[in-house]
Point group: C2
Chain length 206, copies 2
């Protein structure tokens, strides 16, 4: 017997349960929530995700998600095109934009090299990054990937590909997070932060 | 500045974040997931929830969610119509159906009386339950609501409304869950299970 008593509900539960982090119980809870609300709420939800998927574009320069051919950041005349920050996805762009500390442009890889998940260099926007560097006019590439094995692998792969161009390659500083206590910091981070110590004066101006 | 870099993404995130238990970070994760998958996956998700909301019906007898005028359980000739189990929503029906222990029919209230949430008796399918009882041919009403204050209030409200009809009103047994250890059981449950003790022989035949 069909334990959902409705094929329509079962179908909606099955579709929602395909999303990451949503199991069948949560999916049913969402369906019951939608059934209690006005029909218009469900229609606008459905339309928003379908329209988003159907009409989304990727910026032809940085490959960020965009509503137009060139994204707002790349189109902004006030940002320097000579500094490119390399990130994994749009969430990293948002996090860095929120700091207000970066005035250059981005390059969105769309992921990081992860053989376990079957993601190789050619599944990512690495060739397009090399092309941007090869065209010249780039002074610095800032690598801002996760501090994981996959992130380090991707950093190194990109480093090897662009090190012969006349461009500075840097990586965002790793160390003790501001507000963290030393005794609770893992030894790798603590060790690196001692090796990569910086002049005290340089911290005063910040 | 629009921190999502895309109005389409922002819109989809806003709609998803309206769902219970889904915040803006989770919503963005779901959006990025959908963007990585084939477009057809998003279309079938969108269609499934819109079709579900638009075409869903409620069984005219028990008010369960149904694809037809009368749900599968009410339409089943092998189930006795003389015993009605009163539950809050379809999840309880599914849980009870999974036990395989109930051969009667249901009545789905669509919630429980909860003044805090602004849910009164007239927001629920209580009048329709009284009507079913008043029509006769019902032998027993089994109350199967949550053991919360709201559940107890709803039980008592319904009890007062139907006690004068010639019908047995029972409630599902409360006690120590099978497999539970006594020392970890809360005192209210333990106290009630002593007050409501049952003949030992009656447990042998199960």
């Amino acid at each position: 017997m069909n334990s959902y008593s409705s094929k329509l509900v079962e179908n909606a539960v099955n579709e929602l349960a395909r999303l990451p982090g949503i199991g069948r119980k949560t999916a049913l809870r969402l369906v019951l929530h939608l059934l209690k609300k006005e029909e218009i709420a469900t229609i606008s939800l459905g339309n928003a995700i379908m329209k988003m998927r159907g009409e989304i574009m990727f910026c032809s320069e940085c490959f960020n998600i965009s509503d137009s051919e060139v994204c707002e950041i790349c189109a902004n005349q006030n940002r320097t095109k000579e500094t490119i920050c390399v990130v994994e996805d749009i969430r990293d762009v948002m996090a860095i934009e929120n700091t207000g500390q970066f005035k250059g442009v981005y390059h969105i890889l769309g992921g990081i090299i992860s053989p376990m998940d079957g993601i190789g260099p050619h599944d990512l926007q690495i060739d397009s990054l090399i092309k941007r560097v090869a065209q010249g006019n780039i002074q610095e590439i800032i690598m801002a990937l996760s501090t994981t094995i996959e992130g380090d692998t991707t950093n190194f792969y990109i480093y090897k590909k662009i090190k012969d161009y006349n461009v500075t390659i840097s990586t965002i500083a790793r160390g003790i997070a501001i507000g963290d206590e030393l005794e609770y910091t893992d030894e790798v981070t603590l060790g690196r932060s001692i090796l990569n110590r910086m002049p005290y004066e340089s911290t005063l101006s910040k």
